[in-house]
């Protein structure tokens, strides 16, 4: 479904992504773990076309979308839930979702989204800035889903959320997976990633250095943590 092959991205002179290889099969959840600044966010921004990669491939069902403009990547079926949620603060909840609704949704209709996120239904008329962090995160996910995407890129969705809300988030992510959505999850929260992902990838200095299923990962966690993930 989503396959990334030797992706390289530069910010000016600095070589941020140094040949990233990654695959998320259809309907699965792939997670990328890693310290701050190793290139996790750059990976999703490169996929989205927000930072054009310098070389490599981003294959969506076999079609290479690397270097496409962001709106074309989105129209190809990739939806983006950015780090920090980036809700439109002065738009209402419903308006925020409608920006993402390029044509009438078939799968994730407004009605279904409000069923999935009851708190958003209660706050439908509120402006984005009035929402709590958790509500904003749900709104960012709803805004992405309304385009009926094949792939959703989730960048640090648990950031700044209370443990209870993170648990709710995990439920939502699994639910999406059950509905057949393919998910690439960027996380610092190892617990969340372990709980939902089918495959865990560890990123160090712009490369994926380790990949395993959660079971294997758990068994080797101490060693991996010490080697790649501690500060």
């Amino acid at each position: 479904m989503l396959r990334i092959e030797s992706l390289n991205t530069h910010y000016g002179r600095s070589h941020v992504l140094q040949g990233v290889d990654l695959e998320v099969p259809a309907g699965r959840i792939g997670a990328v773990l890693g310290r701050n600044g190793v290139g996790k966010t750059t990976t999703v921004r490169s996929i989205m076309g927000l930072v054009p990669p310098t070389s490599g491939h981003v294959l969506l069902d076999g079609q290479d979308i690397a270097g496409w403009a962001p709106h074309l990547v989105a129209r190809a079926g990739v939806a983006y839930v950015p780090e920090g949620r980036l809700i439109f603060p002065d738009l209402s909840v419903l308006e925020n979702i409608r920006v993402g609704e390029r044509k009438p949704a078939k799968v994730w209709t407004m009605e279904r989204l409000l069923d999935l996120f009851p708190s958003l239904r209660e706050r439908a008329g509120n402006r984005g800035w009035q929402l709590s962090g958790g509500e904003q995160q749900m709104l960012a996910i709803a805004r992405a889903l309304v385009s009926d995407p094949r792939v959703v890129l989730l960048d640090e969705p648990s950031q700044g959320l209370a443990p209870l809300v993170v648990r709710e988030l995990a439920g939502v992510i699994k639910r999406l997976c059950d509905e057949g959505v393919t998910i690439l999850l960027i996380e610092q929260n190892m617990k969340l990633a372990e709980a939902v992902a089918d495959q865990l990838h560890v990123m160090v200095k712009g490369r994926i250095v380790y990949a395993a299923t959660p079971d294997v990962f758990r068994a080797e966690e101490e060693a991996i943590r010490g080697k790649y993930l501690t500060l």
Partner: protein
């Protein structure tokens, strides 16, 4: 003159003036809100509107048609300019936009000079609005009443467009975070061209409407661009409602200033701007400075 008739006529005068200022300022502020650039050519599009309006009235005899044709011509030129030139500059700093839009000003002014000549051209208003009415026994031009009404109608139309249409929603979203809108599958470049065209068209509409009062002349642009900047700065850059409030405030200061202390009328507008900037550096409804 009694106080009540005086107040009524002066207030109506101010509202008709506010309408013209609003047409001028709202386009500039919308363009700034979306694109974060200052369109130096805005006053020239206002002037272009007046001249195109003049020719439309000459050929067809219809002032109403001029109100449609002039905004369409100016809007098309604006959108084409954005598509052809401005689009290449978004990665550069703001001075590039000032240079290029200033260049456009020079080119357009020269084109207008060559096409219409240097003489001021009188634009006739439809007979319906040519006369005067008596308000409390004071004569008042019907055309100014029409202007005030047109301002209200256009302000409501723009507001409804921003609130209720898909493009209006995208314009509001883009002004808050254009990258996010782009990543949600919207071709933000088209939104930008659209808003630039709409802004230039609104300026031209103001130009046609002003022409019967001030004639279509080459001096129009210079005054217009200053007024437009003042409106945008007072209202807050990018704020639709701000530009509306600022247009009304400035118009009242201009009209009553002209009456009570004509020598300082021009300064009064800048004093108002200074006052607003001291209290709210980002403008009345602006985010921040």
């Amino acid at each position: 003159m009694d106080l009540l008739p005086f107040l009524v006529t002066q207030c109506l005068n101010a509202f008709s003036q506010a309408a013209l200022l609003f047409f001028l300022g709202v386009g500039l502020t919308l363009i700034f809100g979306i694109m974060r650039i200052v369109n130096f050519a805005h006053g020239t599009f206002y002037m272009l509107g007046a001249f195109v309006g003049y020719t439309t009235v000459r050929i067809t005899g219809s002032f109403w048609l001029a109100l449609v044709v002039a905004p369409l011509v100016a809007g098309s030129i604006g959108a084409a300019f954005e598509l052809g030139l401005l689009r290449r500059l978004y990665r550069r700093d703001a001075s590039a936009f000032l240079m290029v839009t200033f260049g456009l000003t020079l080119v357009l002014e020269e084109v207008i000079r060559l096409t219409w000549g240097v003489q001021a051209l009188q634009v006739e208003v439809p007979d319906l609005f040519a006369g005067i009415v008596f308000l409390f026994d004071e004569p008042f031009p019907v055309y100014r009443l029409f202007l005030a009404g047109a301002g209200v109608v256009v302000a409501i139309a723009i507001w409804q467009f921003l609130e209720r249409t898909r493009l209006g929603l995208l314009i509001r979203a883009t002004s808050q975070n254009s990258e996010m809108v782009h990543a949600l599958g919207v071709d933000v470049n088209m939104v930008r061209s659209g808003i630039f065209g709409i802004g230039c068209g609104l300026a031209a509409l103001g130009g046609v409407l002003a022409a019967p009062l001030v004639t279509a002349s080459l001096g129009m642009a210079a005054n217009a661009i200053i007024d437009a900047f003042v409106i945008v700065i007072i209202g807050g850059m990018g704020s639709f409602l701000g530009s509306l409030i600022a247009a009304v405030l400035v118009a009242f200061v201009q009209v009553f200033g002209n009456y009570y202390f004509p020598d300082f009328a021009l300064a009064a507008m800048y004093l108002l701007m200074l006052l607003v900037l001291v209290i709210r550096p980002g403008g009345l409804l602006g985010k921040e400075a």
